[in-house]
């Protein structure tokens, strides 16, 4: 589980960095596109690009921990903005559209990784608490009980011996 946790942590950092880079590239591409077309024309073109995103969500188990599994479903426009008129737009907007699709994928990937990371961390903490409770409370408690019982049995054994001696003395006298 620790190996999976470390792996997920590494992947989460990587995915976050990738997402930030892609957002930065998208921002630049959109800035260039809006500079080329103008805000009003770009708004007009992009107004029809809103599309429904389909994400398949399921779950899987990592060493007994149930974690979510998310996947962006492939759509004809790949989740990006591709319903604008290609005649009235430039390749700058095509580039921005392509980058927006990649950003969406990266967001879904990061969401999954981050949730997995949290769940695995919680499970590791829980296991650690159980181990600590066993090590410092339950096992010492059981050992104390065993010692107490051992002492009690020894005491009973000594009493029994003393009683037998006393009976033997009485039998000899009688």
């Amino acid at each position: 589980m620790t190996m999976e946790f470390l792996q997920t942590a590494r992947e989460t950092v990587e995915a976050k960095r990738k997402l930030l880079d892609e957002f930065s590239n998208l921002y630049k591409a959109l800035s260039v596109a809006s500079g080329y077309h103008g805000y009003i024309a770009l708004d007009k073109e992009l107004i029809a690009t809103e599309s429904e995103l389909k994400i398949t969500a399921g779950s899987r188990s990592i060493a007994g921990v149930r974690v979510p599994s998310l996947e962006l479903q492939d759509s004809p426009n790949k989740g990006g903005m591709k319903r604008y008129n290609p005649v009235d737009t430039s390749s700058w907007l095509d580039h921005a559209a392509q980058l927006s699709g990649e950003c969406l994928r990266a967001i879904v990937e990061l969401a999954e990784l981050q949730r997995n990371f949290e769940l695995l961390a919680m499970e590791i903490n829980r296991t650690k608490r159980i181990t600590n409770a066993l090590e410092y409370i339950i096992i010492p408690g059981l050992q104390a009980t065993i010692n107490y019982l051992n002492m009690k049995f020894e005491e009973r054994d000594r009493e029994e011996k003393a009683r037998l001696k006393r009976v033997k003395v009485l039998v000899v006298r009688g």
């Binding site: 992947e11 399921g58 779950s59 899987r60 188990s61």
Partner: protein, 157 residues
């Protein structure tokens, strides 16, 4: 120390002490808990590719979901007849030895997949492919939903 009572033998007929037996029962219970997420059965890659939402049922009644992108990646590596033969999820057995794991291998398809993933030839011995920790991390990184851990008391020796 008081002696154990004579009418309560501390050793069973097989030579195991009662304490050891109880410990084994406890461990068996723990193994059942950690293996609750193991799939009840495996499905062939070709079957999963034809399903809208590819999944298998687990022992605890939950579902194990496969990512379509992973299935398509596996399909791209294998011939159609190998796709028919590859059972998924691939089971990775973790035993008492924590430094290595074994992949339960039913045929050549698993062997081919693992050797491509690790970029090195692998040997299947007694239906098992032995992997070391870094290799396991590499495999899990590439096949997250197509592989599943199972815990067993075997020593992998």
């Amino acid at each position: 120390m008081p002696k154990p009572l004579e009418n309560e033998p501390s050793q069973t007929q097989s030579g195991q002490s009662l304490c050891e037996k109880m410990l084994q029962e406890c461990l068996r219970g723990e193994l059942r808990v950690v293996n609750a997420g193991v799939p009840q059965s495996q499905k062939r890659l070709s079957t999963l590719l034809n399903e809208q939402y590819p999944y298998v049922l687990c022992n605890d009644g939950s579902t194990h979901f496969f990512k379509r992108s992973e299935l398509q990646y596996l399909a791209s590596l294998l011939e159609p007849e190998e796709q028919e033969a590859l059972p998924l999820p691939i089971l990775i057995e973790l035993g008492a030895n924590q430094n290595e794991a074994t992949v339960i291998c039913g045929g050549n398809a698993e062997e081919k997949i693992i050797s491509i993933m690790l970029n090195m030839p692998v040997v299947c011995q007694e239906r098992r492919i032995r992997l070391y920790k870094p290799q396991l991390a590499l495999l899990r990184r590439k096949l997250k939903t197509a592989t599943v851990y199972i815990f067993s008391p075997r020593t992998n020796a």
